[in-house]
């Protein structure tokens, strides 16, 4: 829970909702931008993500180091599972499984 996931902003939704799309090693998911209201990222910027919310802007190099850190800590798989889980409206709402389930999480939406 304490480790953050680095992602690249690839899209920012128009309107008041402060929602964007991040890409994390090729996977694109919805991310909330409300906590960066004072320091709004632009498309192409890198951010650290906690529980689906972008928390701080970081440099591209720091993002790469953060990914290596997750790998070394053995948390990449968990992080990617988390990222795949963000904003998966239909899967969560319908109780369907997701791709790449591990351990109990695959059953959790059954």
């Amino acid at each position: 829970m304490c480790l953050a996931i680095p992602g690249k902003i690839v899209d920012i939704a128009a309107g008041q909702n402060l929602v964007g799309t991040v890409e994390v090693t090729g996977v694109r998911r919805k991310v909330q931008l409300g906590l960066l209201e004072d320091d709004m990222p632009k498309i192409g910027d890198w951010v650290l993500i906690h529980v689906g919310f972008a928390m701080s802007r970081i440099s591209e190099q720091d993002a790469a180091e953060q990914m290596r850190l997750l790998t070394a800590l053995g948390e990449t798989e968990q992080a990617m599972e988390e990222v795949r889980g963000y904003g998966l409206e239909n899967d969560i709402a319908n109780g369907a499984g997701r791709d790449g389930p591990t351990q109990w999480s695959g059953k959790s939406h059954a």
């Binding site: 829970m1 304490c2 480790l3 953050a4 909330q32 409300g34 906590l35 960066l36 209201e37 004072d38 650290l48 906690h50 529980v51 689906g52 919310f53 928390m55 701080s56 970081i58 440099s59 720091d62 180091e65 290596r68 850190l69 070394a72 800590l73 053995g74 948390e75 968990q78 599972e81 988390e82 990222v83 889980g85 963000y86 904003g87 998966l88 409206e89 969560i92 709402a93 109780g95 109990w104 999480s105 959790s108 939406h109």
Partner: protein, 379 residues
């Protein structure tokens, strides 16, 4: 060491460890607490203990939200979710944490609708998509996750989503540090301050530790070099007889914190007069609850909460380990009744818990060595 070399500039790592050896007074024993569970995990993973001189002792702090949650809160959360029309939603970290009547995962097996989300925003989305159901989100975490819960609750209010409520277990880190400093059996020389909590609260909330308690604090990143540099910065202060707050993790932590996040927390939450922490007991003004304005989204106001209090098993010494008085392996149950596969206490469940980190990186290794020795002596 192998993994340490893969990170930025191994030469800097060598220089930092040389500097640590130069600064550490051999006549002195240093006790430094890393407050955050993410740091504990990294310290074990990278084997930093092997790099540090033996008179620098790292004490694991209370910064693992799952670990400090009293068991009764899990039972309370699951008790209010027993209604068949209810969906109980939590982060994956919570699923295997035992309550007195079983973990959320075990309740799921008994037919309670328990689901994992990765973001509070998705718990709200679940409520929006299932208007006939009541969705209770089991919120947990320090200041790193509390602002996300706050924004989600604000969004529920703005969109008038009424079938969503939050069972709030958010806690704040500074009162826990105070409780540890007030504990008579604890002597510490300085703190490695939390990384991601500090992205939200900044560095100012630690200033009293330096000013009033005379202990240096260095907020730190999570890479091996970050942690070693933070130890260098602490030793330099101790060497010079100073006590200040310094920020090693400048690339993510602004000194003043994240204003938008603090604003959202202040809008939605207020301090509870007191809250129970596992191992640390009741600590005043150490946890958050929803303000009256958001009572409609507060599970504790909407449901009748049994207020279960469960004593930890007498034989388990989670409290002493949490306070840093005992090392994980000094607990009587460690590696016997209590393992990551069959956790008795939460410190063994979360990867940020010091028992699980110690078990996975130190204890397993020592088991392998022992088996190797046994086999070779037989041969």
């Amino acid at each position: 060491m192998r993994f340490v070399d893969e990170f930025r500039d191994p030469e800097l790592i060598t220089r930092a460890s040389e500097e640590i050896r130069r600064l550490a007074d051999p006549a002195r024993h240093y006790r430094i607490m890393e407050v955050c569970g993410g740091h504990t995990h990294a310290i074990y993973r990278f084997g930093l203990k092997d790099i540090l001189p033996s008179n620098i002792e790292l004490i694991h702090g209370p910064g693992c939200p799952v670990c400090v949650l009293p068991m009764g809160r899990i039972d309370d959360g699951l008790a209010i979710a027993r209604d068949p029309n209810t969906i109980f939603v939590a982060f994956g970290d919570m699923m295997r944490v035992p309550g007195a009547h079983g973990s959320p995962f075990e309740h799921k097996a008994r037919g309670i609708d328990v689901r994992i989300v990765y973001s509070p925003a998705d718990a709200l989305e679940l409520a929006r998509k299932n208007p006939e159901k009541e969705v209770i989100f089991f919120a947990i975490g320090f200041e790193t996750t509390a602002p996300s819960t706050a924004l989600t609750i604000m969004s529920a209010r703005a969109h008038d989503i009424r079938n969503f409520s939050v069972f709030c277990n958010h806690v704040t880190i500074v009162p826990a540090i105070r409780a540890i400093l007030d504990s008579p059996d604890m002597r510490l020389d300085g703190f490695i301050g939390p990384g991601h909590v500090s992205t939200v609260i900044g560095c100012r909330p630690y200033e009293w530790i330096a000013r009033n308690e005379g202990k240096p604090v260095v907020t730190s990143g999570f890479e091996p070099l970050d942690l070693l540099q933070s130890i260098v910065m602490l030793l330099r202060q101790l060497h010079a007889g100073e006590a200040r707050v310094e920020n090693q993790y400048k690339r993510a932590v602004p000194w003043e914190g994240n204003r938008a996040a603090l604003k959202a927390m202040a809008e939605v939450f207020e301090l509870r007069p007191y809250f129970e922490w596992r191992g640390l007991g009741f600590i005043s003004q150490s946890a958050l609850r929803l303000r009256e304005k958001y009572a409609g989204w507060d599970a504790e106001q909407r449901y009748s909460v049994p207020e279960t209090r469960v004593a930890d098993p007498k034989s388990a010494q989670c409290g002493e380990v949490l306070k840093g008085v005992l090392k994980p392996a000094q607990c009587k149950l460690f590696g016997k009744e209590c393992t990551p596969e069959h956790p008795i206490g939460a410190l063994m469940v979360s990867s940020e818990g010091s028992c699980a980190a110690y078990y996975n990186y130190e204890y397993r290794k020592s088991l392998v060595t022992r088996i190797d020795l046994a086999t070779s002596s037989v041969a």
